[in-house]
């Protein structure tokens, strides 16, 4: 707690005092919009190319470990 309080103030931040008294309703409203923006993208369908990429990486790794296993025997 004390440590956090001590770290609260950024030396180059003259607005700190003002920022801390922001109206909770305004803060809530911004919070909701922020989530709406973010979740809108989170909920968008994931392009197949990412799954394809990871499947390729995994297949390559298994092939490599398969090769080294064969060589060690």
């Amino acid at each position: 707690m004390n440590r956090l309080d001590a770290a609260m103030t950024e030396p180059d931040d003259p607005d700190e005092g003002f920022d801390l008294v922001m109206d909770p309703k305004v803060q809530e409203s911004i919070g909701r919009s922020l989530k709406a923006h973010y979740d809108d993208i989170v909920n968008a369908p994931v392009p197949d190319k990412f799954l394809v990429l990871l499947a390729q990486l995994e297949a390559t790794e298994q092939r490599v470990s398969g090769v080294s296993r064969d060589e060690s025997q």
């Binding site: 609260m8 709406a36 995994e58 025997q73």
Partner: protein, 204 residues
């Protein structure tokens, strides 16, 4: 140990390794939507965001041995994504925004038409924030990361994160003209618009 025992031990080790790889891959897949949302918030462009996510996945895969199991995979991936953005994408992001406008104007959204317009307004305001404020506001306000994790990802003190978040909120309120209590009244279009955005899109 007989040769067959050695082979068996080798096979067991390989299976364990394959299992670890599989788990890591599943973890990455689960984080892709969050990586895209964070990347889009940083770069202001969904196309750039997807390039950035691809680079992040490649780097994460190549450095999987550096990830400590039990720690937050999301925080680890955000760190990689953020470093990649600042070292390679920042300039491109500005160029794309200049030539095509921000994703705020172009991106298809998945809410209804009404909330789409409000979301576009909010995104335009968000894009006007300084990067260092925008990134922490997103991390703390939308991704579920703690102030501590955000501080670690950005390599600054927790107090710095808190003051950046405060300044970001103040600036956003200013840009959206909702600086005072009176502005939140039902007659104010911007405030009313923002009220509509929330419940319909969040958690859908």
């Amino acid at each position: 140990m007989s040769p067959s025992d050695t082979a068996l031990a080798g096979r067991t080790e390989t299976l364990a390794q394959e299992r670890r790889t599989e788990d890591f891959k599943d973890g990455l897949i689960r984080e892709i939507p969050n990586l895209r949302a964070f990347a889009a918030s940083l770069s202001g462009s969904i196309q750039l965001a997807d390039d950035l996510v691809q680079d992040t996945l490649l780097k994460a895969w190549g450095n999987s041995d550096k990830f400590e199991p039990g720690t937050s995979l999301r925080a680890w991936l955000f760190t990689i994504l953020r470093n990649t953005y600042y070292s390679l994408y920042r300039k491109r992001g500005r160029e794309v925004q200049d030539s095509e406008g921000t994703y705020a104007e172009r991106m298809a959204t998945h809410g209804n038409q009404e909330s789409h317009l409000d979301l576009a307004d909010f995104r335009k305001a968000l894009a006007k924030l300084p990067e260092e404020q925008r990134e922490v506001l997103i991390m703390v306000g939308a991704t579920g990361l703690s102030y501590e994790e955000a501080a670690e990802i950005c390599g600054v003190a927790i107090g710095t994160i808190k003051s950046r978040v405060n300044r970001a909120r103040t600036k956003l309120a200013e840009l959206l003209s909702i600086g005072s209590v009176d502005d939140l009244g039902p007659s104010h279009t911007n405030a009313a618009a923002m009220q509509r955005v929330g419940p319909e899109s969040v958690g859908s």
